[in-house]
Every structure is written in structure tokens, then in C-alpha cells.
């Protein structure tokens, strides 16, 4: 086993460990969020091994940093006041999450089985230059649409906040 393979398995193990930690710490939301950080950062390591360098940085910046911090703020917004769902609703939520998990798993397995052997990535693949040229030539419309989604997020945040204050 060469070194990159060893690294891949190390990162994969950390990803799974973080994911398990996220589920296991259901009573301690902050610890769960920290486990999620482990998952996100280790995923970035796997992206690097795949040669997707920019995706790795964005993974750490957005998912490892911003999104989990947002989770933590949401947790703090509620404080220590635990509002449990009524048992019936809770069972529904659990059933729904199991269903979603099975669907995602099935999709992943389907994608993996019979996955073709890909040729090696070209030189410079996944670097800022290639990503930039691709984003602003072939995918420029999608980029503009992202900014509309972000605008919706800004307005949505304000609407939520104002309702809570009033």
C-alpha cells in the first residue's frame, strides 16, 4: 500500500468517525457539531487526494467553517431550553430520516457499482485557474443564478429575524 492510499483510508476513517460522532452526540449538540467539523475537514483531505484542490479549500471554508458555525448559532439561539417534539411527531421524524438515509445510500451504491475507470486528470486540473475559466465561460449562467439564491438567503434571514424581534 503506497502512502496516498494509506492517507485515503485514514481520511475515510476520520470521515466515518466524525459522522458516527455526530449521530452519537444527539444530546450534546455542540459536540455533535464538532464531530461534523471533523467529517468536513477530512472530506477536504479526500478531495485533495482526488486532485480537486479548489473544492478542498471551499469545503473547509464553507462547510468546515461557515455552515457548522451557523449550526452552532442555531443551537445557541435555543439555549438550554429543550423543546421535545411530541412522541408521535418524533417517531415520524425518525422514520423520515431513516428513509432519507436509505435512499442516499442506495443512490451511492448505484453510482459506485460499475463506475468506469477514469483517465488520469490533466495537468493543472482542479486549480484556481481551471476552475475560474470553467466557471466564467461554460457555467456563467449558473454563477449568476447562485447570486439570486444568495439574495434570497439575505432577505430570508432578515424576515426571520424581524419576526422574532417583533
Amino acid at each position: 500500500m503506497n502512502f496516498p492510499t494509506l492517507l485515503f483510508y485514514t481520511f475515510a476513517l476520520l470521515v466515518v468517525a466524525g459522522a458516527v460522532g455526530t449521530i452519537a452526540n444527539i444530546r450534546n449538540t455542540v459536540a455533535a457539531a464538532m464531530s461534523l467539523v471533523l467529517t468536513m475537514v477530512s472530506l477536504a483531505g479526500i478531495y485533495v487526494l482526488l486532485g480537486a484542490h479548489m473544492i478542498a479549500v471551499f469545503q473547509i471554508m464553507v462547510y468546515g467553517g461557515a455552515i457548522v458555525v451557523l449550526f452552532l448559532f442555531a443551537v445557541m439561539l435555543h439555549g438550554d431550553e429543550h423543546e421535545e417534539l411530541p412522541p408521535g411527531r418524533m417517531r415520524l421524524v425518525k422514520a423520515a430520516s431513516v428513509l432519507v438515509a436509505i435512499c442516499v445510500m442506495a443512490g451511492l451504491v448505484r453510482a459506485l457499482v460499475g463506475f468506469p475507470e477514469l483517465p488520469a486528470a490533466p495537468v493543472g486540473f482542479g486549480r484556481a485557474r481551471q476552475v475560474g475559466i470553467a466557471l466564467y465561460s461554460d457555467y456563467v449562467l449558473l454563477v449568476e443564478m447562485v447570486s439570486q439564491v444568495l439574495l434570497a438567503a439575505i432577505v430570508g434571514a432578515l424576515v426571520l429575524a424581524k419576526r422574532k424581534i417583533d
Binding site: L70, A128, Y136, S147, V155
Partner: protein
């Protein structure tokens, strides 16, 4: 190609070892004389009466959402910034179109008082 990352792994390992040594020495060497009033969380001499983890102002949550939004926006700027000479005025126009809604959003937030502390 992956060799450029060797240094990151090495420095991560060294820093973890260093911190473990520092904390390890401290936890071993330091005295330990626990009694209840010393272990109390600091409250200017009073006993804490409520849990400190109270509900926070929603403003902080708004900041977190704005942070996510603008972090994602920044991410679209980085690749553009490195290749904008090749992209020329077309790339410039597309980044303008990209930025405009967000500037409008920021301005809206500002006018609505979402940025006031």
C-alpha cells in the same frame, strides 16, 4: 503533485505533539486542590442562579447567515480574480451581474436595520 502537501501534514503533526506535551506537563505538574466554591463559575462573588446558556439575540444568527452568504460570494471571486485578465470585459460584466444582487441585498439589510447593533 501531492508532495506539496507534505509540509501541511508535518506541521500539523508537530503542532499536535507540541500542544500535547505542553498540556500534558501542565496537567501532571500542576497542583489539584478542588473545593466547591473554587469550582464555581466566576460570577463576581455571587452564586450563579441561572444557566448561562440562555437564548441569544437573533442578531447573531443573522450575522451567521450573512457570513455564509458572503463567504460563498467570496468563493466565486477567488477563481475570477486569478483569471480575469484572460476573461476580459465579458468576465468583468459577469462578475458585476453576480455582485449586483448581493450589493442590493446588503443595502436592503442595511436600510431595514438588520446591520444595526
Amino acid at each position: 503533485m501531492l508532495t506539496e502537501y507534505t509540509g501541511v501534514l508535518v506541521i500539523l503533526a508537530i503542532s499536535l505533539v507540541l500542544i500535547a506535551v505542553l498540556l500534558g506537563i501542565h496537567l501532571r505538574v500542576g497542583p489539584r486542590r478542588e473545593f466547591p466554591s473554587k469550582q464555581d463559575p466566576f460570577e463576581c462573588g455571587e452564586r450563579p442562579v441561572t444557566s448561562p446558556r440562555r437564548r441569544i439575540a437573533v442578531k447573531f444568527y443573522v450575522v451567521a447567515i450573512l457570513f455564509v452568504v458572503f463567504d460563498v460570494e467570496a468563493i466565486y471571486f477567488y477563481p475570477w480574480g486569478t483569471v480575469f485578465r484572460e476573461l476580459g470585459w465579458f468576465g468583468y460584466a459577469s462578475i458585476l451581474v453576480f455582485t449586483l444582487p448581493l450589493v442590493v441585498g446588503l443595502f436592503y439589510e442595511w436600510m431595514k436595520g438588520g446591520l444595526d447593533w
